[in-house]
Symmetry: C2
Subunit: 285 residues, 2 copies
Amino acid sequence: MATAQLLDGKRTAQIIREELAKKIEEHYERTMLRPGLAVVLVGDDPASKIYVRNKHRASTQVGMDSRQIILPAHSTTSQVLETIEMLNQDPSIHGILLQLPVPRHIDAQVILRHLDPRKDVDGLTPTNMGRLMAGQSGLRPCTPLGIIELLDRYHVPLEGQRVVVIGRSQLVGRPLALMFVERNATVTIVHSKTPNAWDITREADIVVAAVGHAHLVQPNWIKPGATVIDVGINRTESGIVGDVDFDSVAAMASRITPVPGGIGPMTIAMLLSNTWQAFQETVGS
Amino acid sequence: MATAQLLDGKRTAQIIREELAKKIEEHYERTMLRPGLAVVLVGDDPASKIYVRNKHRASTQVGMDSRQIILPAHSTTSQVLETIEMLNQDPSIHGILLQLPVPRHIDAQVILRHLDPRKDVDGLTPTNMGRLMAGQSGLRPCTPLGIIELLDRYHVPLEGQRVVVIGRSQLVGRPLALMFVERNATVTIVHSKTPNAWDITREADIVVAAVGHAHLVQPNWIKPGATVIDVGINRTESGIVGDVDFDSVAAMASRITPVPGGIGPMTIAMLLSNTWQAFQETVGS
């Protein structure tokens, strides 16, 4: 039986979206301007199409102008670049997101280098990554941002806390570690080459699992009373599950995120929040 | 009495410089081309002038063309930018280093954003920071690079080892943590807001102190047999000392770097090595 408090990402994301919708409407009434978000999808990967559709729906619901640009799978890097250039120049577009992964023959890093950092609502351009490294303000990647925001909304203290991030991806593990450091937490990154990772995670006040390995985190990985954040989205025969063995770990933790309904919705909410931020920085508040 | 093996940065840097000098000479005999390094100093801070002079001497000794550009302290950001632009365009210059810190009225980040990432031998431009975040090859900051290189030259294993980095600066702590992660170490960043940091450093196989706090690291911070790297350069009444209480910690550690003669000379050697790498990538090997 679960004893931990549920960190409800779905509900928190809903609140954030309502807050944004209100701000966007007020801004529109004053200025007749709305934030514009363009999502660029190359190819027709079914999972990516669902993600793009969800982003489109979410941004429309909060009153943004949403544009979906779907390029054929055989597009070249320079054809994708042309689209990005056009969106960089377009004053009605304030946020641009390149849906990843792109087909193998396209160099995502080249494209990210050309994306205007002021419109980089996924926080993945070198400029924004560099700003994160330098501890400067800038657009941050949506998933790590959603994790920090969820913890903040539930008043989970970060300063001086021991945090262990499991996973070292560019999208989650690495930027998240730096964002926790910014917030004065003491952060450890563990990964597939860490022997006996549970010896380390067991010391943590906050454990974040972001590896894509179903049920990796078991109760013996967790200090009693710790906060557990599950970023994993793993498709199994029994449906979508996280990286955390929810039922058994929930009996040990003081707070835990569910999958689904945890970090997933927060990621989309942060995409909207980043687009709002980019919009405000262009047109003024 | 010290029992630890000394990780001799001075001697190792000397070896690296001799290796580079040989490669540069061979390249020159074939192509009549030499790597060119430009160091830009704004103002006349005495410590900075010494650093610039040392870099000039070191680069000249290995057969590089060295250029020192000293701009008056009252230069504006756009005047410094003009110099950087000129060096970006100059085909005889392969490495550009902006000596930090710059006077307060100059925005170093703006200048770094305009520095050609291919010539960024300090590894501090957003592009190179972003590449480090993304786990891609690129020019890396010299001090962290020098630490990893010194450990490699002494065959200190990194994979699967527990590393604690004390300090979270943009120049050392943060990039170093990511570089250890790249090398499959398990890395923790501790800092001034970490309560009882010694409880954490005491678990580490490798401890790196990079905070600028004389004698912070005492024997009770160190697991017997650990490797201790001291990046600190603190001016005290009894001369220059590191962040580690050398004599007492050396009795506990299995390997330790001295100050001076440890990471300092390695940093300059890595500046030369980065310039050589930038040169090769422009003109070919």
